[in-house]
């Protein structure tokens, strides 16, 4: 496909997108879904396995109670019904990273169903309907050897590590979302971001997209503007950052619109998102051959969560996101516009942590929303992925507050921390950024400035205090900006007292 893509604006003028999102979340339970192996990320390969998660002949699964509890809590937080009775089912297909060649999942009896999640985009609220949230298990991970890219295509062979196999997953599936118009990509991003914050608030997952503990599939189709007929959808798999969710949705809108406008049809298929090039490419075609032969898992007994248990979990849920945000906005004293920017920058949690670390809310907002968001955008990464912690931001602000540095120097401290030069205090010392407030040094500079500007000095002696600004500027120039401006002013006025 070498034709030029239609621009997003043109695409949206001609077509209405409909979108469905499937999010897989790895739970942060201590053990796997069906066995007692640990779930720690980054362990040596194949050291966190047992007969069950390796699928050895004869092994049997036993359900992790905590995983069921987390699934129910997620369902409740998403305003879902909780199944009074449901089962696991086997989804049968062959793949080398799946030890049993079936995935133990849920099919037509999900633990949670019929919920919703409200998300905000530019002040507008979209209600995303949740079709279902169900439990399943993760697969192993393959390392592809040979070939040029380390990708699966063209590899000579693959090496499989089953540490991840059997880690509990919750798959959250939305109903098709329509009526978004041009905001579809932003809605996709806002949904995933809101869902992530909700899961973080529940404490059920690390939700680290970069580590794969939260993964998103974007289903998207187009219908001609004004038509209520759903078009053929594509399923873009494993879109693994908020930015990519938005970009992938945007790309698919343009790509599909280009094809449809040329009179071609959309192939119902799986597509792959390429972070580096910003395009999706064709994966395997969806067809009748995808016959998963689901049937109830005979090795596990049905789950019938008692009402008392569900109600106990409901009562213990944290406050809803919307309530939490309203509360934070009041406590922080942000205007509606400021809060909207904070949410759009995905900085609520970061600001909360920065405030906890001792910063004022306004200062935290200033750094995260203007300074750091700009830098993240320049680097094409998420705000949270910047190599700086809320604690470090709070420390830089503390240095400003105590007069050790000023805002201009603070930006240089950010440069240093982001460049990996260490903690803020170390960067200040190493780069020699501390403001000079030593009277002896400042006094000498002030004397030189007075000597060099006798007429200005005279005006000040005559009581024209406003003229001090010119002398302060001269001192700052001598000190390369690293002077404590307040103290300089005091010294000038002392020396030139009438």
């Amino acid at each position: 496909m070498t034709t030029t893509l239609m621009s997003y604006d043109d695409a949206i003028a001609a077509f209405d997108p409909a979108m469905g999102l499937e999010v897989h979340v790895e739970l942060n339970t201590a053990t796997k879904m069906f066995c007692g192996c640990p779930t720690e990320f980054g362990a040596e390969p194949n050291t966190q396995t047992c007969p069950t998660c390796l699928g050895l002949p004869g092994s049997l699964p036993v359900v992790n109670r905590k995983a069921v509890e987390s699934a129910i809590r997620i369902g409740l937080a998403l305003n879902c019904e909780i199944a009074a009775w449901c089962r696991f089912a086997r989804k049968n297909y062959f793949y080398p990273d799946m030890p049993k060649n079936f995935q133990t999942s849920q099919y037509d009896e999900p633990i949670a169903f019929d919920g919703f999640l409200d998300v905000e985009v530019e002040g507008e609220t979209f209600r995303v309907e949740i079709e279902r949230a169900h439990m399943e298990e993760d697969t192993g991970k393959s390392l592809h050897v040979g070939g040029s890219t380390g990708r699966i295509q063209g590899a000579d062979y693959s090496l499989v590590d089953y540490n991840r196999a059997g880690i509990p997953l919750i798959e959250i599936v939305t109903r098709p979302i329509t009526g978004m118009g041009a905001k579809a990509p932003a809605v996709a991003r806002a949904y995933v971001a809101t869902l992530r914050d909700l899961l973080l608030g529940l404490g059920v997952s690390d939700v680290r997209m970069e580590q794969g503990s939260m993964r998103c599939d974007v289903n998207l189709s187009l219908a001609p503007s004004g038509s209520d007929k759903l078009g053929t959808r594509t399923e873009t798999k494993n879109v693994n950052s908020l930015r990519s969710v938005e970009r992938a949705a945007r790309y698919e809108v343009s790509r599909q619109a280009t094809l449809l406008s040329a009179g071609e049809s959309i192939l119902q298929e799986t597509r792959h998102w390429h972070e580096d090039t910003g395009v999706t490419t064709s994966g395997r075609e969806k067809s009748d051959a995808d016959d998963y032969r689901y049937f109830p898992e005979p090795d596990l007994v049905p789950m019938a969560p008692p009402t008392e248990w569900v109600e106990e979990l409901r009562a213990a849920l944290p406050e809803p996101l919307r309530v939490q945000r309203a509360r934070l906005q009041a406590v922080w004293g942000f205007t509606d516009l400021e809060m909207r920017d904070v949410v759009a920058s995905d900085a609520v949690g970061l600001i909360e942590q920065t405030v906890t670390a001792g910063s004022s809310a306004q200062a935290a907002r200033k750094w995260w929303v203007s300074e750091l968001t700009r830098r993240a955008n320049e680097d094409g990464i998420e705000l949270a992925e910047l190599p700086i912690t809320p604690q470090q931001v709070a420390r830089i602000q503390a240095l400003v507050d105590e007069g050790s540095i000023n805002d201009k120097l603070a930006r240089q401290v950010f440069d240093g921390v982001l460049a990996g030069e260490g903690e803020p205090d170390g960067v200040v010392a190493a780069r020699g950024l501390a403001v000079v407030s030593d009277d002896a040094a400042l006094g000498e500079a002030v004397d030189r400035a007075i000597a060099a500007n006798p007429d200005v000095a005279e005006k000040i002696r005559d009581g024209k205090v406003a003229a001090a600004g010119a002398l302060i500027g001269a001192v700052m120039a001598q000190m390369r900006g690293q002077a404590d401006a307040g103290r300089v002013r005091e010294l000038i006025l002392e020396k030139l007292a009438p």
């Binding site: 339970t29 201590a30 053990t31 066995c35 007692g36 192996c37 640990p38 040596e44 390969p45 194949n46 050291t47 966190q48 396995t49 047992c50 007969p51 390796l54 036993v62 359900v63 992790n64 109670r65 905590k66 995983a67 069921v68 009775w85 089962r87 793949y95 080398p96 990273d97 799946m98 697969t139 393959s142 390392l143 592809h144 050897v145 699966i152 590899a155 000579d156 062979y157 693959s158 090496l159 499989v160 590590d161 089953y162 798999k237 799986t270 792959h272 994966g283 395997r284 051959a289 016959d291 032969r293 109830p296 005979p298 596990l300 007994v301 049905p302 789950m303 019938a304 969560p305 008692p306």
Partner: protein, 99 residues
Amino acid sequence: MPEISRDEVRHLADLARIELDDAELDHLAPQLSVILESIASIAGVAAADIPPTSHALPLTNVYRDDVVVPCLTAEQALSGAPASEQQRFSVPRILGDEQ
């Protein structure tokens, strides 16, 4: 119940990842037809309101606590592997997509 065709057997074998040659197809297809014919009687035996039984005994809510138990060592895990490398199971090149 329709008789099971040779092509259908070939398709099913394909779904089940079994390479059947022509001789095997000739041998198995008619046998499968006979078996299917004999179990065709089951269609329509049970009324719609009869609940299906997936488990012999009506147990529910069997869970374990979220407590780590000792794993196999990597050596044990890999002990049966036809091939391994870098403490991982070595498998031939994988067709198709990353799942």
